[in-house]
């Protein structure tokens, strides 16, 4: 292991060829903050097979409060997808310690009991106190994974209304509700939580509490609708018993097919990237910086409609513009 950087095109080709070591190196590269590494990463993303990034695979977000059983649900979904012959990559985002910056990342085996399957790839990420529950690396890493795997699942812990920030950077978002906790329902009702594409109540094995939560969610959803017109299903599952997992996998798949049938799939990926770019800029320069580029809304629309480029190249270009503007004003 040295600090030498890989050759971007060769690395991209190897990732496209599903080389696991290459994917691991690519993820390391996308995590690398040195300026020279950023250039290399931009070139790497540019060299990835475009069709896979535009319309290939299925990028799914799974989120919910701590203790809702996301990891065990992920484990159950992995089994279903593997039975269907799909290759699965996971990005697991864990919080890092606010005091030390260090992090404990330990859910791999809970998500993937057998642990030896080469067609399952898990990378954990510490959210490092930024991006509200997400990590800035999630979007570029998701793209690298989409180049090599059929399903890419991003797992995040969410609390309160930040719960589903991930929904803006995935094709399909699944929210796991905690039985007997009304918080998420209140957030949904108040319209302060982004509406997910699929809602599940885990732990149906515990009985009454889970059934009650499910029926409340169904009632709430009747009055709400995804802005794009997708009817959000609410499902009951038990990761512990393995029940309801096949229908959940089907529901996630239906949303992908729905997007594809309406010709919205690629557009959604475009919007995910635009979202990431805007968020990343806001993180670095605040509203003032984005204002120099014409404001958040205008910038978002422009980015969502422009032809897609590598997110890092695009970001660096936007960043350079902001800095130029700041200097011009100074």
């Amino acid at each position: 292991m040295t600090l030498a950087l890989p050759e971007p095109a060769a690395l991209a080709a190897a990732v496209g060829g599903r080389d696991r070591l290459a994917l691991a190196r690519a993820l390391n590269l996308l995590d690398d903050r040195r300026p020279v590494a950023r250039q290399c990463a931009a070139a790497f993303l540019d060299a990835l097979p475009a069709e896979k990034l535009d319309t290939g695979g299925h990028l799914i977000g799974i989120t919910g409060p701590p203790g809702a059983g996301k990891s065990s649900l992920t484990a159950a979904l992995i089994q279903v997808w593997r039975r269907r012959g799909l290759k699965v990559a996971i990005l697991a985002v864990d919080p890092s310690s606010p005091i030390t910056g260090g992090a404990l990342l330990g859910d791999r085996l809970r998500m993937h009991a057998s642990g030896a399957d080469r067609e399952v790839f898990i990378r954990s990420l510490a959210c490092r106190g930024e991006f509200g529950g997400l990590s800035a690396e999630v979007w570029p890493m998701s793209l690298a994974m989409l180049a090599a795997f059929d399903v890419v699942l991003v797992e995040t812990v969410g609390v309160g209304q930040k719960e589903i920030d991930v929904s803006k950077m995935t094709d399909t978002t699944c929210f796991v509700a905690q039985p007997a906790s009304g918080d998420s329902i209140q957030f949904l009702k108040a319209g302060i939580m982004e509406i997910p594409h699929v809602i599940v109540v885990n732990k149906e094995d515990i009985g009454m509490a889970a059934r009650k939560t499910l029926s409340e969610l169904k009632n709430t959803l009747r009055r709400q609708m995804d802005p794009e017109g997708w009817q959000v299903p609410a499902l009951s599952v038990s990761a512990a018993l393995g029940s309801g997992i096949e229908p959940l996998a089907d529901a996630l798949d239906s949303h992908r097919n729905w997007l594809l049938a309406r010709g919205q799939f690629n557009a959604r990926r475009q919007r995910c990237q635009a979202e990431w770019l805007v968020k990343h800029l806001r993180e670095e320069f605040g509203r003032y910086g984005i204002g120099l580029l014409g404001g958040e809304d205008a910038l978002f629309i422009r980015l969502a409609e422009a032809p897609r480029r590598s997110p890092i190249a695009e970001y660096e270009a936007l960043r350079a513009r902001v800095i130029r503007e700041i200097k011009a004003k100074g």
Partner: protein, 667 residues
């Protein structure tokens, strides 16, 4: 004047032992009995404890290491050859596979001509503590508790003199529990077990008092022997009350707190190991001084346990300590010497009050099983142990020879040809596999298949597992087959690691901050935050070391990937690759470190990570440390390395070296 009372009967004296093979262990047992030992305490190897045959890939390197390998009734018969089970009192440290080993014991006794009703002894059979410490669990909590209750129900009816379960506070102390926590969690476990057996309907209300009377405990005794004496008196009081109030036990005899002891190993040191002798003797006082709270059976560790496996001479020394106390001193001639002491009474009350409050917290969560599944109990233990380690590191908790008075003459005890420890014959594993194959070749396969089918049916139906298991034992079923049949039905489990505790004050201390600054700086130099994989390969479940390194690593700013115990080398290599770690730290305490390291390096080669720095911690003799370094291990840590901050600086510099950066000096 003291009132003269009848001299108290001496307790059972045992030595926890077993190694290499059934034949070698049998020889050791017969020698120990000849030396005046009055009972047997069988140590099983890790494959036997976790339900694998000697030829299973996960058993590699572990066969015969920390105990005797028992794959089938042939091994069990060899283990007790010329030892009449009808007269022996045998304690078996066995949990997840307790029903199976008890079945083999019963079947062996039957073949010797003894009836089950004659048998005396103990199966540890406390699965809940395995989720918290030691780690030899297999199945999820619900089916595990069911197996526990099956053994209790079966023995109460058929082996009335048997102690079917030894609720253990021993391992909780080894995992860092305070006396209060020991009391609270052991008694909460007893509640979980007794409630489960009551709810199972296997024992009627009229027979329940018998069940309460058969519950015994396995306790630890640390060096603070006055407090330990009080803890034992507190146990007695609380158990009496619980048995009466919660379970309606009327007879005083049925409410008596019966317990065996192994004294503390956590406090034994690798540095100046001869000091462990006085530690062990003092610890023995904590469970013997107070007649009211005196142990029924005592086993003492050997003075050199922190160095490696004890030799027969070391075990003899441990036995002689007990004999001197029992035979030469006047301890057994008096009634309880603490009755009426206000100091003792006040301390006992404080312990009872603390434990009662903690038990209430457990009950609020639904009971011990739920509190374990939620990770609560493990987090409490990791927190206590972290505090203890930090106190040793700071020097607030004095340990002679380790963090004070470290200067020493050269020890004549460890200077011998064998460096003062026993080496398991490396041929033991191969020979066990050969015996296993020969056994399989001779048995009636149709009979085996039928017995396993009965076992599976029993497991599914919920009927008592013991009769089907005894049938399997006679038919020639192996440990691996019995366990796999149940694995297929019950599934397997991974317990919470408990390391997700809040950072304590030391994380804000000057030293930690200084190291953290360097960790972050190095992260910037190599481009991304530094990541460590803490891995426990093999079947060994002693996770204190791995947990402490993980927590400390987090506190000095590393991103830590830790997945708990019992990983295969393949899983470790896979995780190292997928997680993009900068260094791997392995932890092995079963003595199988050489095989594990070889396997991990092979797997790292396979995934293309040759050259990734790997360090290891464990009970590793110096000669092995040298060997491991030759194989490519970057650093070896043993129990005498208590400066965790120093280890973190080491690790940081190993990562720097691997990335062609100059080392940093952090005082």
């Amino acid at each position: 004047m003291t009132t003269q009372v009848k001299r108290d009967k001496p307790w059972l004296m045992r030595t926890y032992s077993g190694h290499s093979s059934a034949k070698a262990s049998n020889e050791l047992y017969r020698t120990n009995l000849g030396k005046g030992q009055t009972g047997l305490s069988v140590a099983f190897d890790l494959p036997t404890q976790t339900g694998y045959d000697a030829d299973h890939p996960l058993a590699r390197g572990e066969v015969g290491k920390v105990g005797v390998p028992i794959c089938n009734i042939g091994d069990m018969e060899a283990l007790f050859d010329q030892i009449p089970l009808g007269q022996m009192n045998t304690s078996m440290t066995i949990n997840a596979t307790a029903a199976w080993l008890l079945a083999l014991y019963v079947a062996t006794a039957e073949r010797q001509g003894a009836s089950p009703a004659q048998l005396q002894g103990t199966t540890q059979n406390d699965i809940l503590k395995e989720y918290l410490s030691r780690g030899t669990y297999i199945f999820p909590p619900a089916p595990s508790v069911r197996l526990t209750t099956d053994i209790i129900a079966y023995t109460v009816k058929n082996i009335p003199k048997w102690n079917p379960t030894n609720i253990c506070s021993y391992h909780l102390q080894e995992a860092g529990a305070t006396p209060t926590q020991e009391l609270a969690y052991a008694l909460s476990t007893a509640i979980a077990v007794l409630d489960a057996i009551r709810d199972s309907g296997q024992i009627g209300a009229d027979g329940f008092e018998q069940v309460v009377g058969r519950i015994s405990f396995f306790v630890n005794a640390g060096i603070r022997f006055v407090e330990e004496t009080c803890k034992m008196r507190a146990f007695g009081e609380m158990w009496d009350k619980l048995a009466q109030e919660r379970y309606g036990a009327q007879s005083e005899e049925m409410r008596r707190f019966r317990y065996g002891v192994q004294v503390n190993s956590l406090g034994l040191t690798e540095a100046q190991p001869e000091n462990n002798v006085q530690r062990i003797v003092l610890e023995m006082l904590g469970v013997s001084l107070s007649k009211k709270a005196r142990a029924r059976a005592i086993q003492l560790p050997a003075w050199n346990e922190a160095l490696g496996l004890p030799r027969p001479w070391d075990q003899q020394w441990a036995l002689r300590m007990q004999q001197v106390l029992v035979l030469e001193t006047d301890l057994l001639e008096y009634g309880d010497i603490f009755d009426g002491s206000p100091v003792i009474a006040a301390k006992v009350k404080a312990l009872v009050d603390g434990a009662t409050a903690e038990m209430a917290r457990v009950q609020e969560q639904g009971g011990m099983v739920q509190a374990i599944e939620a990770g609560y109990v493990k987090r409490q233990l990791v927190t206590s142990h972290t505090e203890r380690m930090r106190a040793i590191e700071r020097g607030d908790l004095k340990i002679v020879g380790l963090n004070c008075f470290r200067e020493t003459e050269e020890s004549p005890l460890t200077g011998g040809k064998d460096s003062g420890i026993m080496k398991v014959d490396p041929r033991a594993e191969r020979e066990q596999i050969e015996r296993l194959n020969a056994f399989r070749a001779k048995r009636n396969n149709a009979e085996v298949k039928a017995a396993l089918a009965t076992l599976a049916e029993t497991a599914r139906s919920g009927a008592n597992i013991m009769p089907a298991s005894i049938l399997c034992a006679h038919a020639g079923v192996t440990t691996g087959e019995w366990s796999q049949t149940l694995r297929d039905i019950f599934g397997e489990y991974r317990a919470p690691t408990g390391i997700d505790i809040a950072a304590n004050d030391d994380a804000r201390g000057a030293r930690a901050v200084a190291i953290r600054t360097e960790v972050i700086k190095t992260g910037e130099e190599v481009g991304r935050p530094l990541r460590l994989l803490v891995g426990k390969p093999g079947l060994d479940g002693h996770s204190n070391g791995a947990e402490q390194i993980a927590v400390k690593g987090r506190d000095v700013g590393f991103e830590i990937v830790y997945e708990g115990i019992r990983l295969t080398p393949e899983q470790i290599a896979k995780a190292a690759l997928e997680e993009g770690v900068h260094l791997i730290g392995l932890s092995v305490l079963s003595g199988s470190h050489v095989e594990m390291v070889e396997d991990v390096f092979n797997q790292l080669d396979k995934v293309g990570l040759r050259g990734l720095p790997v360090v290891i911690g464990g009970i590793i003799p110096e000669s092995d440390a040298k060997l491991l370094k030759e194989k490519g291990i970057a650093a070896v840590y043993t129990p005498k390395d208590i400066d965790l901050n120093g280890i973190m600086v080491d690790i940081l510099n190993l990562i720097r070296k691997a990335n062609d950066l100059q080392p940093v000096a952090t005082a």
